[in-house]
Symmetry: C7
Subunit: 94 residues, 7 copies
């Protein structure tokens, strides 16, 4: 099964394992907004969203930091995905 | 009886049976926003909604993940439908 | 006496009797937003409302599902009407 | 003394007596928004209000149903008036 | 000392004495919004305020009814003034 | 050290001493919004801020009344400054 | 590893040591909004963000005062960064 996001939405898969590596990434919880590292799985087509032209900037396979606050978790074939708006992605990580 | 949505609204029918299949889709509840899988039953004409041009992207028969938060349940001839704005549909599922 | 709605407003008359018919329409209550079936009694002229051009899509006599949340009840000559904005009408029913 | 409303504001005088006539208008209270019948006493010039062109549609002497929620009561020469924005007037009554 | 308001702001001086005259103006308190009669002391230049062109309509010396809710009290040389946006002035009184 | 404000921001220095002079300015506290007299220390360049063209109207050295509500206090080299948006400055004082 | 901010976002690194120097910067806490001094580490490309053209004004290496309220902390390779929108940067410090 395959998720195809609409508009300016992006499907992410959280990279949880790396949170425990010694020199890796640790993302401390804040009450209102928990930043998260994730991989981009699918990218919506962009276009006019809520009356504004949105150009998609992220690409499938990129690692990103996102703001979990507005995301929606979806389980599909026993994998968990997160669907966010591109605007909830703060930065890419290389 | 037949529901014809206005503007950018979409009539959905929830796919509840699949929630219990072994390798199927499980949609964990979040307090503020419960994502849901559903089938598209009817699609509004789009056009200018709240001063913004909206083009309808979903089609009758598609399976979609939607954010239940803003939806409205309607029972008609003993079937339950959900009416959402297209913007509350996060992704299509294939 | 006659109610003439202004702008994008619509005067509705609730169809309450049908809630109790066996195969009829049942509208389950949700705390924040109670959908309702009603008949369109009068339709405002539309035009520029809050700086946005609104075209009226509903017609007198149509049966509609509306979101009761923003509506205002008015009793006139012992009949009760509901005045809503067209945007609070979700779908027509045939 | 005379009240001259600014912008898209309208001066109303509530028609309270009619609430007690047998076949007259009864306006049931709702907690958030109490609709009211009133007579139009004075109408502002309209024009650009909050960056949007507003055309005044109501006329002095008309009876209107308004949403009391945003109105402001003013007592002048022992009479009580209500100043509302035209957008808070829901319908005219004939 | 002299107050010169910026943008669409207006400096007012409250007319408190008249609240006690027999046939004068009485402004009953409402919890959220206390209307007030005042004299216009100084008027800002208007122009583009928050991205919108504002034309000043009130003149120094006019008596006005304003919504106190958004106003700011300032004491200068032992006199108290109120600074409001023109949009918080509901009507002029003659 | 020197603070250079960005966009439509203005650096102010509060004039606290004058609050105790006999015929000076007294600014009574209001719970939500405490007006304050201050001197303009530095003025941002203006330009397009949040999609809107802002022209800076205040000048270094002017005395102004501002609404403290949205301001941010900064201590630099043992002096305290306040950074506000120009829109939070209500009037100049001469 | 390297953080590349999207849109109008800026990656900052807090300058905490200077808070304790005698003649340095002390940033007193306010409940809703804690101003902070930081160094700019990376700057997004700007462009159209939320339908509005944003031009990036800050440069890598600048010291800035920012409003912590909307920022997001990220730990990467045992260093802590803050990702803010450029609009949350109040001033540069020299």
């Amino acid at each position: 099964m395959k998720l195809t996001p609409l508009g300016d939405r992006v499907v992410l898969k959280q990279l949880e394992a790396e949170e425990t590596t010694a020199s890796g990434i640790v993302l401390p919880g804040k009450e209102k907004e928990k930043p998260q590292q994730a991989e981009v799985i699918a990218v919506g087509p962009g276009g006019v969203v809520d009356g504004k032209e949105v150009k998609m900037e992220v690409k499938v396979g990129q690692k990103v930091i996102y703001s979990k606050y507005a995301g929606t978790e979806v389980k599909l074939d026993e994998e968990t995905f997160i669907i966010v708006k591109q605007n909830d992605i703060l930065a890419t990580v290389e």
